[in-house]
């Protein structure tokens, strides 16, 4: 209620009661009393005016408000009186709540949020499943299900792919998506401007529909590339040199089904590779379908399964391929979109959620401890209030109000901190080529989460002091002052217990941080098999008509010559892919004398490289020779294996001179002679051991050479060479498209994104908990010294030395810390087990991580104990004794 209305209420009540009394007096005077006597009688008959008013206020529901206001006033007064306490409490709560809100925001964005499309719960992914995993069925199978299945309202396909776009003469590589024309109808997504794609746009291979070749772009791309120009609808751009008309702009979040991985442009399937569209076994699609309202998942699964079975019966594949890839049809819920991001981050995020929870717990324990100390100091105050008639309920409420006020301030500050932290986190994710865009804006779910966390911590904080206040005996409280009551000893014990809990929590957090840091260090120092420093990488793509041409081959040599002449460039090479770039190519190999046990034994990774490749990347040549200019297109076909492949296929025998054959290109006889063996290099990620690899010279590649990756080894910081190298490439041909410019070091860093995130956050959490534990330790030790002033005085009078006194304080500190560390042991073990999957090269039970955490804790314990210890040692025995 507002102050003005409140005043009005009081005034009205006064007027009304005065009127009553006055009327009463007037009547009494009329009946013959003197005015004075009448007034007296009227007052007596009415009874206590104030009590009546109070009851009126209560009847009107004002009393509670008044009490709350009094509680709040008192709260602010007490907080103002002890700003240090308030600052520590609010700050540590803000950190705890902020950490939880920030991590929950990520958790929400990655794990919980549903696609913002119409009724996402009825969307399913339709997948061809087998022992090797699950993937979308081939395009002809998709058509079959789309046209024949009756369980679905709509069946749509999509497939992410890099697309080369030209607009305003600027060529660039965009993140594209091939989509069946009906995708956005199936999802129920509307365009922001213009129109969306429809099934009629996706009719004729190579042409599109009645409007010709059309495409829609995402809002983000629209803004980035076209400056949000409304005239973009109807514009013609070039997709791989084919004219395409932009017909609409789609919301960035719903142009694709993979949250976090933004798509720039969506183009109808019919404009993609017609060979791929006809391929009856190629797995390159993702199929999403919307169940009809009345249809259950099992029915739809049975129906599409039958269609799939009929389809597969008409396809010629080996029995093994069938069980591996085309065994049956499976449906999976698609409400949250594709799970790539979820799979990648679910474990680290869950671990971080736990750690953030522990930090908040540590903050709450710390504040409870501080509040307890304050409650002891305020015992007298409360005893007085009890003695003059305050209800115990009021006292408890006072405590709860105080803690909720602290929590409120902490939560407000925490949300601010969380926003700041999330900006940093978002930047963390947005780095690099495969950047992830997380929508971390505040939403209702996040605020509800924060509110729940805050209220729970407020109650947790208030409950212990409140219970104590409820048990307070006013007589004892008034008598004893601040010393000498049994209750205080209980409080001190409780305080010590809380400190032990704090130490335990920070021990668990620190040991956890230790595990993650050690794991990160292990990954960072893992043997890559290639040089880490000074390597510049970029991808270069010519126009499509030059793919596989001799012209492109000549340009490659020209570029190498020119780049090599840049001062500071020591070596430069081409390859179809560089390590850790996320690119991959597989092949099936037949090796004489090698009997594969499974189909997968024939699989090998394949790259075509220029002769300088191994030298540039620092991959050692172990046997035989490398490639040279003599291994041109017309020369005898040669290949190089990595050690893993050589050992796998040939054991300890020398493979040089033996011939291997690729069998995954039907109709072509691809026989290559092994001329060399090179060292292993990590390929996919730092965690995976190097896979089997076969390298071919670029002119002898089995695939048409299109995009190539350049690697240049430079002296000094490689990224400084990006501009000159780019200039040299474009001086050969200005239209060459250059993308993904980076350095090997950067790519290594990016491939450790998750690990770095977890290590950085867990270290922060551990530090916060450590500082809180130190505050708790300091508090309890300082209080203990004050309480034992007398005893210390006696000891010193009896000949205890200063160092002896200091040692006494330290001993107590170490006892508390030691207890906490020991109790933490099972917690640390549990944390290790939970996070096992995120660790690399470190056992979940890691003595080094544990020992360093314990050492750190003991070190800070000594620091926290130093000040109270010093104060104790400086006590003057005479004055200390006189204090009694």
């Amino acid at each position: 209620m507002r102050i003005g209305r409140r005043q009005q209420f009081e005034d009205d009540m006064d007027a009304e009661l005065r009127f009553h009394i006055d009327s009463c007096v007037a009547d009494l005077v009329r009946s013959g009393l003197t005015p004075e006597e009448a007034k007296r009688r009227a007052r007596i008959e009415f009874g206590s005016l104030e009590a009546s008013k109070d009851q009126c206020r209560q009847a009107w529901g004002l009393q509670r408000l008044d009490e709350l206001r009094a509680d709040l006033r008192l709260t602010f007064r007490t907080i103002r009186r002890s700003p240090g306490f308030a600052a520590v409490a609010i700050l540590s709560l803000a950190l705890g709540i902020g950490a939880n809100t920030a991590i929950f925001g990520m958790f929400d964005a990655v794990m919980l949020r549903l696609l913002p499309v119409r009724d996402p719960g009825r969307l399913v992914f339709v997948q061809s499943a087998g022992t090797a995993g699950r993937d979308g069925p081939p395009y002809p199978c998709f058509e079959l299900i789309r046209d024949r299945a009756t369980s679905f309202e709509g069946v749509s396909a999509f497939s992410p792919s890099a697309m080369e776009l030209t607009a305003d003469r600027g060529r660039e590589l965009a993140r594209g998506l091939w989509v069946s024309g009906n995708l956005y109808q199936t999802l129920g997504v509307r365009p922001l401007i213009g129109r969306t794609l429809t099934a009629s746009d996706d009719q004729t291979p190579g042409k599109g529909g009645p409007d010709g070749a059309v495409a829609v772009i995402s809002r983000a791309y629209w803004q980035r590339r076209f400056g949000g120009d409304l005239a973009v609808v109807g514009r013609t751009i070039y997709l791989f040199e084919h004219a395409v008309t932009i017909v609409g702009v789609m919301p960035t979040e719903t142009i694709s089904l993979e949250p976090g991985r933004p798509i720039d442009i969506a183009v109808p399937m019919m404009l993609s590779d017609p060979v791929k569209l006809r391929d009856r076994t190629a797995l390159w699609l993702l199929i999403v379908a919307r169940l009809k309202p009345s249809v259950r998942m099992e029915q739809a699964r049975a129906e599409s399964g039958a269609l799939f079975k009929a389809y597969i019966a008409g396809v010629r594949i080996s029995e093994e391929t069938r069980t591996r890839l085309f065994d049956h049809m499976d449906l999976a819920p698609a409400a949250k979109g594709l799970g790539g991001l979820r799979r990648q981050f679910s474990k680290p995020l869950s671990a971080l959620m736990i750690l953030a929870g522990l930090v908040l717990l540590a903050a709450c324990v710390n504040i409870t401890n501080l509040m307890l100390a304050r409650a002891m100091a305020r015992q007298r105050d409360f005893a007085v209030r009890l003695a003059i008639g305050a209800g115990r309920g009021r006292l408890i409420r006072q405590h709860l109000t105080e803690s909720l006020a602290l929590v409120g301030a902490g939560a407000a500050l925490g949300i601010v901190l969380a926003r700041l932290g999330q900006t940093a986190l978002a930047a963390f994710f947005a780095e690099g080529n495969n950047r992830i865009v997380l929508d971390l804006s505040l939403n209702v779910r996040m605020l509800l989460f924060t509110l729940t966390v805050a209220v729970l911590s407020g109650l947790a904080l208030g409950i212990v002091p409140a219970m104590r206040a409820a048990r307070l005996d006013p007589a004892a409280g008034l008598h004893g002052g601040s010393r000498g009551i049994a209750g205080n000893r209980v409080s001190l014990r409780l305080g010590r217990a809380l400190v032990v809990v704090q130490v335990t929590l920070s021990m668990v957090l620190l040991a956890g941080a230790g595990l993650f840091i050690r794991s990160l260090r292990e990954l960072e120092s893992v043997g890559l098999g290639f040089a880490r420093e000074g390597i510049l990488t970029m991808e270069v793509t010519p126009e499509r008509r030059l793919f596989g041409s001799s012209e492109w081959l000549a340009m490659q040599t020209d570029i190498l010559d020119r780049v090599r002449r840049i001062p500071g460039v020591r070596s430069v090479s081409w390859a179809t892919m560089n390590p850790l770039s996320g690119r991959d190519r597989g092949a099936v190999l037949e090796v004489p004398g090698f009997v594969p046990r499974t189909e997968a034994d024939k699989d090998i990774h394949l790259a075509a490289v220029s002769p300088e490749y191994f030298d540039t990347l620092g991959v050692p040549m172990l046997l035989g020779r490398g490639f040279s200019a003599r291994d041109h297109g017309g020369a005898p076909k040669v290949a190089i294996l990595n050690v893993t492949a050589a050992r796998f296929y040939f054991g300890n025998a020398n493979p040089i001179g033996l011939k291997v054959r690729f069998t995954n290109y039907p109709g072509r006889d691809l026989l290559y002679e092994v001329v060399g063996v090179v060292g292993d290099a990590r390929h996919d990620s730092l965690r995976e051991p190097p896979p089997r690899f076969i390298y071919l010279p670029i002119p002898q590649s089995v695939d048409r050479i299109n995009r190539l990756a350049l690697a240049a080894r430079c002296s000094g910081d490689a990224i400084h060479f990006a501009a000159p190298v780019r200039r040299q490439i474009q001086s050969v041909r200005s239209t060459l498209l250059i993308a993904n410019v980076s350095t090997m070091e950067k790519q290594i860093e990016q491939s450790l994104l998750r690990e770095r995130l977890v290590a950085a956050l867990s270290t922060t959490f551990g530090t916060v908990a450590l500082v809180l534990a130190c505050i708790g330790l300091y508090g309890i030790l300082a209080y203990a010294v004050t309480r034992r002033t007398n005893e210390i005085g006696i000891r010193m009078a009896l000949g205890a030395t200063k160092s002896g006194v200091v040692w006494m304080v330290l001993r107590e500190a170490f006892a508390l810390a030691g207890a906490g560390i020991v109790i933490a042991l099972p917690g640390v073990l549990a944390l290790g087990q939970i996070t096992k999957a995120s660790l690399y090269g470190v056992e979940p039970v890691d003595p080094i991580a544990f020992a360093s955490a314990a050492f750190l804790l003991l070190l800070f314990t000594a620091l926290a104990a130093a000040l109270p210890g010093r104060r104790a040692s400086l006590l003057n025995p005479t004055s200390a004794l006189r204090r009694e």
Partner: protein
């Protein structure tokens, strides 16, 4: 004037509603009318009259407006609202039932049942 009677717990609200239902009254008027209606036999604590009025207004059973009293002074007048009327009717019926049952019990003659 008969013997004074103590007010039964919870009946004050009902009596106030009845008093107000006979025409708008200010607080003092409610007191006077109740005195009149009971022939002065009911002891009403004046101090508890106003909390009861506030409570009834808070419940929406009566409404108040500021007006002018007989002696030309500003006073707060109470009137019965529609829901107050309904409430009074229900309470009256309940009371009648209750009192007849209690009266029946108390007037039972030994040996009759």
């Amino acid at each position: 004037m008969g013997k004074p009677v103590d007010l039964l717990q919870g009946t004050l609200d009902m009596l106030i509603l009845k008093a107000v239902s006979l025409g708008g009254l200010h607080g003092y008027g409610v007191l006077l009318r109740l005195g009149q209606l009971t022939g002065g036999r009911l002891q009403i604590q004046q101090g508890s009259l106003y909390p009861a009025l506030y409570r009834l207004e808070r419940k929406g059973l009566i409404a108040s407006t500021w007006g002018e009293s007989e002696n030309k002074r500003k006073a707060r007048f109470y009137t019965l609202t529609a829901s107050g009327r309904k409430h009074l009717k229900a309470e009256t019926a309940l009371w009648n039932d209750f009192s007849s049952v209690v009266a029946g019990v108390l007037s039972a003659i030994p040996g009759e049942s």
